[in-house]
């Protein structure tokens, strides 16, 4: 069997797209778990005057962030919740098992609905990569936020990521070249009558092959104001907004602004940008 497989491969070599693993590409293109852990750690210290130890990662996918969290400090524990068992399995194999010795029993992965999963109360619960935008009605999103709050300790915080700006409500395709592949963000559809949007991630390779629609999202693009209202309705005491500071390339005025990795609290920031990314931090 082994021999035959090899032979076949020689006759019809696989494309780069066929060889690639969409979860691995996603992690490399989209996620920056170390930066998230740093941001979470600093925010929690600043707001609560104690170190955060337990993280709950909702919509965790491959649980890369939860894994990074527990690896960052031997006292830290984490739980990841996701509906997709296959993606959790990938994460267990690729993100958890290689570090099993360090991680030990400190990480739990739950296959289930983020509105129903019950686990030990967390210091920080996070919903990254806009996943909560799958909830398209106020009732559904509020019930998720209520569940998030129930899952927090008394002084816990909930962190949700949101994107926006004038380009977020348009049709566009954006490419970013990475080592060995190109990440394509495709906003295929946006409906201003209900703020619903359909987005895809494609991956392009140097041999011309492509993973078309590696990931597809059907979202309602909520505004910061709407999320603040719903978080408050769900019982959170206060909602703070942070966004990443950007800097322009001094040599090229037309170049895109790039993120600095520094987050500042948005209070009276009276401008919209073509494209922005914020963290909403809700205090239980």
């Amino acid at each position: 069997m082994r021999h035959k497989k090899k032979k076949n491969r020689m006759h019809s070599p696989k494309t780069m797209a066929q060889e690639a693993d969409r979860h691995e590409l996603y992690q490399r293109a989209v996620q920056s778990p170390e930066a998230d852990v740093e941001f979470f750690t600093e925010r929690f210290e600043q707001l609560r005057n104690r170190p955060a130890l337990r993280l709950r990662e909702d919509f965790c996918g491959t649980a890369l962030l939860a894994t990074t969290w527990v690896r960052s400090d031997p006292e830290r524990t984490a739980v990841g919740v996701d509906l997709d068992g296959a993606t959790l399995g990938w994460g267990r194999e690729r993100n958890v098992e290689p570090f099993q010795e360090v991680i030990g029993e400190r990480l739990e992965l739950i296959e289930g609905d983020v509105r129903e999963a019950e686990t030990a109360l967390a210091d920080i619960t996070c919903a990254m990569n806009f996943s909560y935008c799958v909830f398209t009605s106020r009732d559904a999103l509020r019930s998720y936020f209520e569940a998030a709050r129930r899952g927090l300790k008394d002084d816990g915080i909930f962190i949700a990521e949101l994107y926006g700006g004038t380009e977020a409500i348009d049709i566009l395709e954006e490419e970013r070249e990475l080592d060995g592949f190109t990440y394509v963000w495709d906003q295929e559809r946006y409906n201003p009558l209900d703020n619903s949007t359909t987005c895809h991630i494609h991956f392009d390779f140097d041999d011309g092959s492509r993973i078309e629609k590696a990931f597809t999202y059907e979202w309602r693009l909520w505004t910061i104001a709407e999320l603040r209202e719903l978080l408050q309705e769900a019982g959170f005491a206060d909602v703070r907004v942070f966004w990443e500071e950007v800097e322009a390339d001094e040599d090229d005025e037309d170049a895109m602004m790039s993120g600095t990795g520094e987050y500042v609290e948005v209070t009276e920031l009276d401008e919209n940008q073509e494209s922005w990314l914020v963290y909403l931090v809700a205090l239980a």
């Binding site: 201003p192 009558l193 703020n195 505004t223 104001a225 907004v241 009276e268 919209n272």
Partner: protein, 261 residues
């Protein structure tokens, strides 16, 4: 020229088209209710140009206009209502007051136009206004609002519109992405270089379409319709509206919603 000009007259010329609104509202009401709407309530009526066009469109029609600004309503009385004669004037009542306090006989049709309801910045306030609008309607009444959207509606910038004898200048001075607050001005600019700065100031929360729909339903309206104007090959409006479930976003758009009591 700026010192000679009358800001309400300039506003009406640049912004309003009350006959068009009357035609559109009448058509929609007839289609949904199978009869003519007779009684109109115009919230945030300003100069009550719409009330005037409404009663002029049919001898059985009556209108009530509500606004917080007595001076603007007085201007409208002198400009529209008194010159139209006693019979027309007898069919229009202008009320100085808050649109959230329902009053008078129930209307077939109510409207809050020129995005004025955006002055209510919290859900509770806007819902309260929508509840009042519904309470003031007959049981098969219709409530119309217009709304503003598109990519450019959330940006700072200035748009000039040449009206021939003056330029209407719309300035979006400040948009706050955190609160969705939008601060706008209308300026009028004249051929002699003079300018009427900040003739009108609007301190709004720019509500999005689904938020308005949700609040209308929370306020008790049974059904909400979105209308969208059909455009011709050049992209110009045709005056014909349809009810889409999906539209492509544009740089800037404004359209109507109708809510059934």
């Amino acid at each position: 020229m700026a010192s000679q000009a009358d800001r309400h007259a300039l506003y009406e010329q640049a912004v309003q088209d009350p006959e068009r609104d009357v035609r559109f509202f009448s058509r929609v009401y007839r289609r949904l209710r199978g009869r003519d709407a007779l009684r109109l309530r115009e919230d945030f009526c300003g100069t009550a140009a719409l009330c005037h066009a409404w009663v002029q469109s049919m001898p059985e029609r009556t209108a009530v206009g509500v606004d917080l600004c007595q001076e603007t309503m007085d201007w409208g009385t002198r400009r529209w209502i008194e010159p139209a004669g006693e019979e027309v004037a007898s069919r229009i009542a202008l009320v100085h007051g808050d649109v959230r306090e329902p009053r008078g006989p129930k209307a077939d049709l109510a409207c809050g136009l020129n995005f004025s309801y955006n002055c209510f910045k919290t859900r509770a306030e806007l819902r309260e206004y929508f509840e009042a609008a519904r309470a003031g309607l007959d049981k098969d009444g219709l409530f119309f609002i217009d709304l503003l959207g598109g990519m450019e509606s959330m940006l700072e910038g200035v748009t000039d519109n040449d009206q021939g004898d003056f330029v209407y200048r719309w300035e979006q001075a400040r948009f706050n992405a955190r609160t969705h607050e939008l601060l706008c001005y209308i300026h009028f600019v004249f051929p002699d270089g003079s300018e009427m700065r900040r003739a009108y100031t609007y301190d709004w929360r720019l509500w999005t379409a689904p938020e308005l729909q949700e609040l209308l339903v929370e306020a008790g309206f049974s059904k909400v319709h979105f209308y969208w104007e059909k455009t011709d090959r050049e992209g110009d409006g045709t005056g014909v509206f349809y009810e889409p479930s999906f539209v492509e976003n544009q740089e800037i758009w404004w359209t109507y919603m109708a809510a059934e009591a």
